[in-house]
Symmetry: C2
Subunit: 337 residues, 2 copies
């Protein structure tokens, strides 16, 4: 398998992308291509002794965080991101990873690689840890405004993900809503409920936000605005709780001593809910493997994103999505997609 | 001050509403009216020795949780909820509290008491604890589908709340969005941003969900669908974290001993984030004081809701909202509302 990494992307650029790539190439049976400014990448590569399995493709341009995504990709044809996406489009690589501008990444997936036929809108799919295992939040932020058909597509792709990546044959698919009753919610959720119910995908009904962290649903379906709120609030509550807890535990000598004793437990607790541990986030619905790494990724996160890319590739995630779509649309085998 | 409580509302009905009312009337300088089936209420009241300051108004009907709110209030004119709302409308009571069906409560506020002139849509305003104090989430679930004008009204009412109830003269007012930049978000948030920016209310821009728990904004403005997701996810994450933490702390003998030592800290930590401690939630924009108690309220929660009603009344919250509106619309004093 060959993975192409946009080496210029992310808050920390080549310093972490190069280190992450090296860690990955040393522990996995893969090849890696780094796209970006050759001199800068080589400067980083020269820090290490043995460099095997890494190829550098020089690009003269970089997409900046304040560039308008669609414009940037069209205009900066020789940017590290554009070149990386083109390599996947042209079959020269099996997956692309970037920690760069999310909007540009989505635009690259859509306009360079292209959608899977039958998918109205690709979506960011974020696996997150729960006490019961792993659930998938889809769409976690690619599409701020959605129509019911988009949510149906998210549900289908989420189902494929849980089947291939988590081996759950019949995942519990729920729609995020303000109540569990069918008639609850806003216009979008009410119409989406009807569509999902009639789509023969094994829809399990609405889920209230309070039941999401417990892992009640395997696939948590929502529009990208709501998904982004869920993802970031989860992160924010975890952060605030963890700081407040630390403060409380440091308040007295007794509690400080107690805190020492519970430290391993606290660490394991923290790790359990750290979704960054799970590496990159796939952008589903694109006709190729696109993995988004967090903007503030360190080398470990980049290396985890490569692992995630390999798992998606080994499990033939994209093919499975395509196959499932055909089956849903044509239970009798006629291909009309 | 006279508070009317819908004694039949909530999951536990008269058993907790009566006890909560008694606790409140014994600790505050108020009178309480209980509306509901007289025999049932009296049966509860007879459990206690000294009952002073409580009046019972008999009603022959009860609004059930599966009643359609607007229909229920129109048809069940002698329900405990309808009668309670009419008492506020007709000036016989200063505030109404109900732990009953939220939709019916909203309908009662709108159709029996009526809106404040100049407010397009009343909203549920939930104060929640943060490390910096208290923030207000508005709308927390009254309006699933919103227009930008509604969000502007929520912002104005939220500002009034923080000024009168928390003594913050210039509260930080933020719009919940998927990014802090003006151009980010869905159609609603983009249009609302422009409206809020031009409204001269001291708008501070967008807030991402990850910064809400830390208390970065005093007034957190969003549509009721998003607000409900935020409120319930907050609750869910707290619940899941607390269970997982407990499990980790009970894993070994050492950690169990440590857990004993940190117990007071954990308790204080838990209390800090329990928004139920803050009692009832005001329904702002109605021309009278309407407080919603949680459906699963116990007697303490009902008593806290009465305290919250008294605080709102003492601080003249409703008058302040009306005054602020007039000022905003007419900085030169002409009344055109």
């Amino acid at each position: 398998m060959k993975v192409v990494i946009d080496a210029m992307g992310g808050d920390y650029g080549p310093e972490v992308t190069v280190k992450g790539a090296l860690d990955a190439v040393n522990s996995l049976d893969i090849e890696i291509v780094l796209t970006g400014v050759e001199t800068i990448i080589n400067e980083q590569l020269n820090k290490y002794n043995k460099v095997k399995g890494i190829e550098v493709v020089h690009c003269s341009e970089v997409i900046e965080n304040n560039d308008k995504p669609s414009v940037a990709l069209r205009k900066k044809k020789d940017s590290s991101m554009s070149v990386a996406f083109r390599m996947v489009k042209e079959g020269e690589a099996d997956a692309v990873i970037s920690a760069g501008n999310t909007g540009a990444l989505l635009a690259g997936g859509l306009f360079i690689i292209g959608r899977i036929k039958g998918i109205s809108r690709p979506a960011l799919a974020v696996p997150f840890p729960t006490p019961r295992g792993v659930s998938l939040l889809i769409d976690a932020g690619a599409n701020a405004d959605c129509k019911p058909q988009h949510l149906l597509d998210f549900a289908r792709m989420g189902k494929s993900y849980m089947q291939t990546m988590q081996n759950i044959e019949e995942p519990i698919i729920c729609l995020v809503n303000v109540g569990i009753e069918e008639e609850k919610g806003n216009e979008l959720s009410k119409e989406s409920y009807t569509l999902l119910k009639n789509a023969n995908i094994g829809f399990s009904g609405n889920i209230e936000a309070r039941d999401i962290p417990e892992g009640v649903a395997d696939v948590v379906v929502c529009d990208g605005f709501t998904g982004n709120i869920i993802l970031k609030l989860y992160e924010g509550v975890a952060q605030t709780f963890s700081s407040a807890l630390k403060k409380e535990l440091m308040r007295t000598a007794t509690s400080k001593f107690g805190a020492l004793l519970v430290k391993p437990g606290l660490k394991s607790f923290k790790k359990q809910f750290d979704y960054a541990e799970h590496g990159g986030v796939p952008f589903l619905g694109v006709n190729g493997l696109v993995i988004k790494a967090h903007g503030s990724s360190n080398a470990v996160a980049i290396s985890n994103a490569v692992k995630q890319a390999k798992r998606c590739h080994d499990n033939q995630l994209v093919d499975h999505i395509i196959k499932n779509l055909t089956f849903v649309e044509n239970p009798h085998g006629e291909v009309s997609l």
